[in-house]
């Protein structure tokens, strides 16, 4: 029964009521099941994508880049507003301090304080590496809205939702398919598997170590493992994550602020 839909509210309503609703649900599934499942899938993905962002958010995180040649740790401060705007600033190490990324609507810039230069990231570079990590620019700033650019199919087991994302005809992407796996109980992502056009798994993003931030249970550790690069991975650890913080407002997401010394 791939189309049995159980929303979190239904689940919390108790089993008896649930059973009574069952024939109705079945009927519902038969007639509008496909569309409803797709809607549900969109709902799930949207809520996952907004999980770390809220209406606005402010985060302190640590990024660890591991390759056979080097291990690099960066501390960053990130702010976001809606899904359109984000602002990430590297705080340490000293050498990289102040390097900042701003994403505004559909555009993205990097600022390098040492050379006092703002460099626009061209659309062709969105799939390029962000600061030498295994995350792409697109991963960091979520320029791609998954629910717009992909066709979604929902599968579920007792504990997990698996949303399968297939790019639409007109979508420009390097992925042939993305599996988005979600924990039903906490409604948090568990993993994302990225496949290339030949259906080969090329990288996976795992969400680990659930931690409470502002009353929400959210995975605090993200591990990106590229499978085409040996012994490499990038870990993002959320040290702090606050939602709707008062200091985050429109003035942060400006080119003027991008260039500001701090």
């Amino acid at each position: 029964m791939s189309h049995t839909i159980v929303s979190p509210t239904d689940a919390s309503a108790g089993r008896i009521r649930h059973y009574r609703l069952w024939p109705l649900l079945l009927f519902f599934c038969f007639h509008a099941g496909g569309a409803a499942a797709a809607d549900r899938a969109i709902e799930i993905i949207d809520s996952m994508e907004a999980l770390y962002q809220g209406a606005s958010s402010s985060a302190t995180m640590t990024m660890i880049v591991e390759t056979p040649q080097y291990l690099r740790t960066m501390e960053m401060q990130a702010s976001s507003m809606g899904t359109k705007n984000s602002f990430i600033r590297i705080v340490s190490p000293r050498k990289d301090r102040g390097i900042t990324t701003l994403k505004l609507d559909m555009e993205m810039w990097n600022y390098f304080p040492k050379i006092n230069k703002v460099i626009k990231v061209p659309p062709s570079m969105m799939m390029g590496s962000w600061m030498g990590s295994d995350f792409t620019n697109d991963d960091l700033v979520k320029q791609t809205t998954l629910t717009d650019e992909y066709t979604l199919t929902l599968e579920e087991t007792d504990e997990l939702y698996t949303v399968i994302l297939i790019p639409k005809e007109e979508t420009v992407t390097v992925w042939g398919k993305i599996d988005y796996i979600v924990n039903k109980e906490y409604m948090v992502p568990v993993a994302q598997n990225f496949y290339d056009d030949d259906g080969e798994l090329v990288r996976k993003l795992e969400f680990k170590e659930l931690k409470e931030f502002s009353g929400r249970m959210i995975p605090s550790r993200l591990e990106m493992v590229p499978l085409n690069k040996e012994d490499s991975k990038t870990i993002i650890i959320y040290d702090e994550l606050r939602f709707d913080p008062p200091e985050v407002d429109e003035s942060i997401f400006t080119l003027r602020n991008l260039r500001s010394r701090f």
């Binding site: 390759t67 080097y70 050498k95 390098f112 040492k114 230069k117 030498g132």
Partner: protein
């Protein structure tokens, strides 16, 4: 002994004929020496040009950096390497380098460039970099008052980015630790001109490049200049046995494309040299043959009074051999100053050629034992070879017939 005496006497008896024969051999010898000198000279010029320009005679890398350069394939302890290199008697000098592609920005524009970090002091003794500075001064590795390092840029970058001495140059690249390398440098010298091989290269002090690329203390390449360039292969092999964990290669392998095309070209040249030697050979054949045919009567008399055929043949060979030896000796004396001048001064080109910032205004030759020795051996050898059948012919002549002819 008698034969030798006779041979000498025969040579000097007919002075005009001997002189003509000798002239053809001397001329041939000088022609050969000159062609050999030109051919060797142009190869050696090309070899010394790029070995001095950047390759050096021997290079040391980590793994296969020379084929597939990756920023992390580094030589981690150049100081330890220094001790080994300093101890080698065959090494004239050596220098450390690091390489990385980068994007260069000026206020006006941007361009892709190749960044080379060089050990400024060692580089001066190892390559012609300092001589290629066309504007400004060879830089040092000191920070200026505003904490910026100096850079030398290819003339192509200067014109593309519209910058010159004293201007800021912004470089962005990827560091060895994956970070974004970004820094400002002050242009203090321009290298070569817009057609040079270094037109898109930025030269930085080694320490500045190491900081820029986050590869503190590490280098990508050691380029070694030898006292004797012919020893590249043997020195490379000797160093390789001492440095098992690194890759030591002679320029013949580093510049294998050039080396192979040079070898192919040399093969083609052998044919060209063959034609020159053949022309000389025909000239000598003609004169030797004439001088024997002219003396048919004389040989007839010699046989009539009882000379043995072997002696006659031997005498002719001796005569030719002596004449050839005298000719090439004269040729050697005459060509020494000629080749000396050709090697040191050379023939002035109508249009001076600029090869990578080094101006070549003269074609110069090469002066070596090979250049003088091989034509010498060739000509004496051919003269003797020619004289054998003609000698045999003279020896087999019948006295009556010979004396009847004029």
């Amino acid at each position: 002994m008698l034969l030798l005496k006779l041979a000498f006497r025969n040579i000097f008896r007919q002075r005009r004929r001997s002189l003509l024969t000798a002239l053809s051999m001397t001329g041939g010898y000088i022609l050969c020496v000159f062609s050999f000198s030109l051919s060797e000279g142009s190869y050696n010029n090309a070899i010394s040009f790029f070995t001095l320009d950047h390759t050096g005679h021997v290079q040391i890398h980590q793994e296969d950096y020379h084929l597939r350069p990756k920023i992390h394939k580094t030589i981690d302890e150049p100081q330890q390497l220094s001790e080994i290199l300093d101890a080698s008697a065959a090494i004239e000098s050596y220098t450390f380098r690091i390489f990385a592609p980068a994007l260069a920005y000026s206020e006006h524009d941007n361009a892709p460039v190749q960044v080379i970090g060089v050990d400024l002091e060692r580089e001066q003794n190892t390559s012609t970099l300092a001589a290629k500075v066309s504007l400004g001064n060879y830089i040092d590795d000191k920070l200026d008052a505003e904490d910026y390092y100096s850079a030398m840029i290819g003339a192509g970058i200067a014109s593309n980015l519209d910058i010159s001495i004293g201007d800021e140059l912004i470089l962005i690249s990827q560091g060895a630790d994956g970070s974004v390398a970004n820094d400002i440098f002050i242009v203090n010298a321009i290298i070569g001109d817009k057609d040079s091989g270094d037109k898109s290269t930025v030269f930085l002090p080694l320490i500045a490049a190491q900081e820029f690329l986050s590869m503190y203390g590490r280098v990508h390449e050691v380029s070694i200049l030898l006292k004797n360039d012919g020893q590249a292969r043997t020195v490379a092999a000797a160093l390789q046995s001492q440095l098992a964990e690194l890759t030591v290669l002679p320029w013949q392998i580093i510049e294998s494309t050039f080396y192979q095309s040079m070898q192919t070209d040399k093969q083609g040249n052998v044919f060209f040299m063959g034609v020159i030697v053949f022309i000389v050979f025909v000239g000598v054949l003609n004169t030797v043959l004439m001088s024997v045919l002219e003396r048919t009567r004389e040989f007839g008399v010699l046989k009539a009074i009882g000379s043995r055929p072997v002696k006659i043949a031997l005498m002719i060979t001796l005569e030719t051999g002596i004449l050839a030896a005298l000719s090439v000796f004269t040729g050697l004396l005459l060509s020494l100053p000629l080749i000396g001048w050709f090697t040191s001064t050379g023939i002035e080109l109508a249009e001076p050629m600029d090869i990578g910032g080094i101006v070549m205004s003269h074609i110069t030759g090469e002066m070596s034992l090979y250049v003088f020795g091989l034509p010498l051996l060739l000509i004496v050898f051919f003269a003797v070879v020619i004289s054998i059948p003609t000698g045999i012919r003279a020896a087999r002549i019948s006295p009556t017939e010979a004396m009847r002819s004029n």
